[in-house]
Symmetry: C2
Subunit: 319 residues, 2 copies
């Protein structure tokens, strides 16, 4: 069971709940979009979005030092290009904006349509297409490199750059550099769209109920951490003295105790590999409606300023 009033009104009820709970967010009428109340457009507004069902992504990251706006569509369906443009114009008339988009075909399509429309009206539009999910990693499946929890690192780092006055070009440069350095892998413990035994876990699931690549019996947090790190090690090619930021994200239903136990195992294993953990955070950042599971994101710190940006204070409700 889900504590809602049914799927029909769920997103409208959620919207009312957000409006009530977070006075710092302003709803954009006619859309499932929220903007930062009182946003001053002397900086480039950063906007993210995608399908609903990933709460608190992305509205939870609207605030000083992160996003200026977030726009959702229906459950697992991206917002229309029209809604994206609407939210953008509500934030600024200064004809520049930066979008952060998860790499799903329909999401990218709608944001690109919005960009094209605005560019034709003389806007400068930057865009980060986040493709941090390494669970399907062969070349032939390249297009399935989905955007998942690592997206929140983009919100945080680009958000700090934007707050400090970065131009669209400067944001684009940072986003492009980040792109190869953020990698995520997720695991489901249960999901509405597939059945798993009580002690079975599913590696490499997506955030829209997509199945993973391997089922396995759960043994322990430490064993799971070891498996995910070995995939990430292969993908990054760890070198001693490399510095990493760690994000342990509940995809839904994972308790604070579990997050902390798992994160501790991850950090211990990384330290055993002699790479250094310079930032670590646990929480519920980007979920998948109907899923219980966890994801592990690593960011290789190639630039000291990224770390500074990660650590900067923000007032976004869910960071």
């Amino acid at each position: 069971m889900k504590l809602t009033n049914g799927k029909k009104t769920m997103l409208d009820d959620l919207q009312e709940g957000i409006k009530r709970a977070y006075p710092s967010l302003e709803h954009v009428a006619g859309t499932r979009g929220f903007i930062r109340r009182g946003f001053k457009d002397d900086i480039v507004p950063l906007i993210s979005g995608g399908g609903s069902g990933h709460d608190p992504a992305h509205w939870g990251f609207v605030g000083d030092g992160m996003l200026a706006g977030a726009v959702s569509g229906e459950l697992f369906v991206p917002p229309s290009a029209g809604d994206i443009v609407e939210v953008t114009r509500k934030l600024t008339g200064r004809k520049r904006v930066f979008y952060i988009v998860k790499n799903f075909e329909r999401d990218v399509d709608e944001f690109c349509k919005a960009r094209l429309f605005l560019e034709n009206a003389g806007w400068k539009v930057g865009m980060a297409i986040v493709k941090d999910d390494i669970s399907v990693d062969t070349e032939s499946f390249e297009k399935r490199r989905r955007g998942v929890a690592g997206t929140v690192f983009f919100h945080k780092i680009l958000g700090d750059y934007a707050r400090n006055g970065a131009s669209v070009e400067e944001l684009q440069k940072v986003a492009d550099e980040l792109s190869e350095n953020v990698k995520t892998i997720g695991v489901a413990f249960s999901g509405d769209n597939f059945s798993l035994g009580e002690d079975e876990i599913f590696y490499g699931i997506g955030i829209h109920g997509e199945e993973g690549y391997r089922r396995e019996r759960f043994e322990s947090s430490e064993r799971l951490a070891r498996e995910l790190i070995s995939k990430l090690r292969l993908s990054f090619g760890f070198k001693p003295q490399d510095a990493y930021a760690v994000l342990v994200n509940s995809l839904g239903g994972v308790t604070k105790m579990e997050q902390l136990v798992f994160s501790n195992d991850v950090c211990e294993l990384l330290e055993a590999e002699e790479v250094s953990v310079v930032f670590d955070k646990t929480g519920t950042f980007l979920t998948s409606f109907g899923l219980r599971g966890i994801s592990l994101t690593l960011l290789r710190i190639e630039d000291e300023n990224w770390l500074k940006a990660l650590k900067a204070e923000v007032d976004a409700p869910e960071w």
Copy 2:
């Protein structure tokens, strides 16, 4: 399955995870206690505690404007009086302290033993025994008025008073006044210690796996909100113009979307009763290991200063 390395090391692993994740907390060696790093004992230290298994209670509320320290025991077992004294002495030698204790027999016993010990050594010790759970409400069961999520309101309000220099006597007075004005009722959707059908919910469960008072088919968030409010209405006796603070607490596994949908239903129903909602917050504050469920706490604002204290900024990691 639980994302741990088994019950044997779970609390030790958690402790390591907390130490790593929250540099603002300092572990008190030889105990499951944490204190605020750099706490200045020119104010009365506020300490809470109880069994483990309620994360992020209570360590998550250690910080400026809330608790000075938190001390846990084993899973669902309170800390020993000795551990309580140890954590207290680590915070101050100024011979005054204030404890916030949930009303469970063993918890109260240990904290009272610690108080007696310190009083014999010349200390002044205040104590709030929180008994906000109204799910068992008949006179013969008075002793079962357990302390649950409303405890976090005590942390927040007394924490602000303490920060502003309140004496032990002043804290005691506020605690006593709060006591009759904080009420909670909880519902389980699933639990390790009892079996429920897929759509069945259990009213009035405890936070240690205790069974509730009635099983019922889940219909909707709004219907559940109505049921819980009707119990709270009876207990408070709502009057128009009454002002209430609302806390919607995940007892485990309830998503942000669910929290916000439910909280919105609660607030709408309260407003329909013409009582005014002056504060509302959703989140994961006090959980019960092995449970999925939610609790609703109301605080009747009898003193404007309580509301000011509730709204004051803090830096505790999980408020």
